[in-house]
Symmetry: C2
Subunit: 442 residues, 2 copies
């Protein structure tokens, strides 16, 4: 009986274990996780904080018994200490041994804790584990002021959520606009205005995090380059890095992103060892460089593939184009390259912009849809796009990522057909309008 | 000075006239229409009837002066009687002469009035002209029972609208489900249930329209193969045919659809005569046969092209793939081929189906999204898709039409990337799930 050991119980680990055993019921599959739970959606945490979602129950995909009954040996609250490749076994901190024929590493990611004074004060939060998030949720009713550090996607979700709990919410970020690492200022304006004007978020851009002050071990204020901000709670969206300690201990190679290098079957350079999820790097289809994706949908898909392949399947992972989107009432999204990244990397580009609408201009459901497209100046092929509006951003972000993958030209986008139906679609699709604008600018 | 005469003031005619003069300000552009207005959106009429849209004002794109000030000679309520190709002039019923160097025919479409007893009774309505629709709207408050004949898209919009005015609404259709000419029964179920259960529409499928009864010249009941239905008003969504009388009078060729044949520059076979909109036929990219499209978005785009090209431009029209969608709370849509059409034409196909979701399963905004895909059994390329759900149908219909145009395979769809963000996107995109289902069925 072939023994499969999966280390990690997030989306990748769960995807790997369940798909391996579904592919071949005769496999002996063990999943080891340091946490109490597997297969929950951490992405939902900010939405419970904001009371969009009533409680944490829904965030669990299935109860643990579901996986046990499927035939998976589930070892929760179990930490792997050593992988012995000669003995083909993993050893846990509590002295257990799990022999394997094939190993799948789904060790995920961890925060880089900033090296600042008093970072261990009560009230300073790094969101990751759902049990910890449940405790925090219980305390939010008593929080009057909160600071969120860094306008990365999770940080933006938090500053959108916390005002719904009547918390005065401050954002501290060294950049000049939301998600300035990859998104463009002009396309973040709509969301930024919504957060400031409708939700009362205080933005501290161009501001460095310096440290923390406390009383009786509890946070009282956050020190920034722009002065102190009183706060009962601080959410630190610190840099996230792949967890590769175990992988490196057995000679697995990591790449330029710091994450594990895998082939398109999720195999590492070490025989019979696979890896998937936030601990691996993935080729970007357009940039042709590896990227490290820390997101459930990629983790699950890669985990599924690793599971199918260790079980004897033959599925390949394709290069990625990474559509993204977030927000509720006001949404932003897109697919790389942004103007910000094109400038930073010296990549040539032409731009098209349009402010379209999502329904007939005379229908009450109409909302603006801002579109910005980047194309290669020579081939006129799409290399990126960004969106800002209401409903329909996610679907258009998926469309743009797909269009980049299919090597779509501006002319093809300018002549794309679209549904015209007063309550749900305007005469002119905003993406087509932006493509026309780009062509007119040449 | 080059003289351009445009006959017709709908989307095509307006697009032609405005784009011609914008391309070359020195042109002498005359637009002749038999109606009082140009450039309004007849598609909005059912939504005013249903009070989604408060009044008719918004349906007009611009006041007539806007077009006059642009430099267009606007001749409303003027009927062209004769085109004299020797004299290069058009003659109107009121004896006016308009010489031209180039002519653009945007004569649109007309209803085939069914040859039934008493079809001229007051209360029997053919929706087309906006002024007439305004009069009808004023009378709707006194209508207790209405019959809508034929479950074509306009008919479906009407049966969705009328119940909002507290009108008992009956649909009479000889088919067995909504839009059975091109849509599949399984994909229309969601909308059909909504109309029956939520809006109380009475469906009379498999039922022929036989005639009308009246009193004092006013409709009192509609006769059907299934018995009489009391009605104060009957909306007849009769077959629509291209208006080609003028075109034929000067030797312009029409094709298999009965509409005018144009090349990809919107030129007819007669020198210096162009045509655009509902009176022309257009190549379908996948079927490679001509289709006659009666829809504002196509009319406007074709009119724009004709206008640019008569003015000295050089723009080509691409074959079409025709995404469609309708509905508000419950939406349906897609892009050809449906299973219904594949069966009717003997086209081979494989099918994939999925009921996906539009947000994280635990988020209150989550709604089902039904997807059905058809692909070619040999190449595995997408040949059609249908959708039923809430928000996001229009964008996915556009995506599917684009994917068919870009010759997308099921494997590419199954591996498409998607945004995962709890309020706006689920872990798995419903289209990808349907593609996986199709691949699993092979």
């Amino acid at each position: 009986m072939t023994r499969i050991v999966v280390i990690g119980g997030g989306s990748a680990g769960t995807g790997a274990a369940t798909n391996a055993i579904q592919f071949d019921r005769s496999l002996d599959v063990t999943l080891i996780t340091e946490f109490e739970d597997i297969a929950y959606s951490p992405c939902g945490i900010p939405y419970v904080f904001g009371r969009d979602i009533k409680n944490f129950d829904g965030l669990f995909l299935q109860p643990l018994e579901f996986y046990s009954e499927m035939g998976i040996n589930l070892k929760t609250e179990t930490v792997v200490e050593v992988i012995d490749m000669d003995k083909r076994a993993v050893y846990t901190t509590n002295g257990e041994e799990y022999p394997f024929d094939k190993l799948i590493l789904c060790t995920g990611w961890e925060y880089e804790i900033p090296n600042l004074a008093n970072v261990d004060l009560e009230g300073i939060i790094f969101i990751k584990n759902i049990r910890r998030a449940m405790e925090i949720d219980g305390r939010l009713d008593n929080v009057k002021q909160a600071v969120v550090w860094q306008a990365k996607p999770l940080g933006v979700e938090l500053i959108e959520a916390l005002p719904h709990r009547d918390i005065e919410t401050h954002l501290v970020d060294s950049g000049s606009w939301l998600m300035s690492e990859f998104a463009d200022a002009d396309m973040m304006e709509l969301l930024q205005n919504h957060l400031v004007n409708d939700l009362g978020v205080k933005m501290h851009f161009g501001t460095d995090l310096m440290g923390f002050s406390g009383e009786d071990g509890k946070l009282t204020s956050v020190q920034t380059s722009d002065g102190d901000i009183d706060a009962d709670m601080a959410f630190l969206v610190a840099p996230m890095k792949p967890s590769t300690k175990l992988a490196k201990s057995i000679g697995i190679k990591t790449g330029s992103t710091g994450a594990i290098i895998v082939d398109n079957h999720m195999k590492t350079n070490v025989d019979e060892v696979y890896a998937a999820g936030a601990c691996v790097e993935t080729m970007h289809g357009l940039l042709d460089i590896p990227v490290n994706l820390i997101q459930g949908t990629y983790a699950y898909t890669q985990g599924r593939l690793a599971g199918v392949n260790v079980a004897g399947g033959d599925e390949s992972y394709s290069p990625v184009y990474v559509p993204w989107a977030l927000g509720s009432k006001v949404q932003v999204g897109g697919a790389l390259i942004s103007e910000t990244l094109a400038k930073a990397t010296g990549m040539p580009y032409i731009i098209g912009k349009a402010i379209g609408i999502t329904a007939a201009r005379y229908h009450p459901s109409v909302e603006p849809m801002h579109v910005k497209l980047l194309a290669d100046p020579k081939s006129k092929k799409l290399i990126g796009g960004q969106l800002a509006g209401g409903e329909g951003v996610k679907e258009r972000a998926d469309f743009l990522a797909f269009a980049i993958r299919k090597e779509t030209t501006l002319i093809e986008l300018a002549t794309m057909e679209n549904v015209y139906s007063p309550p749900i679609g305007a005469l002119v699709e905003p993406i087509a309008a932006a493509a026309k604008n780009a062509l007119a600018n040449i």
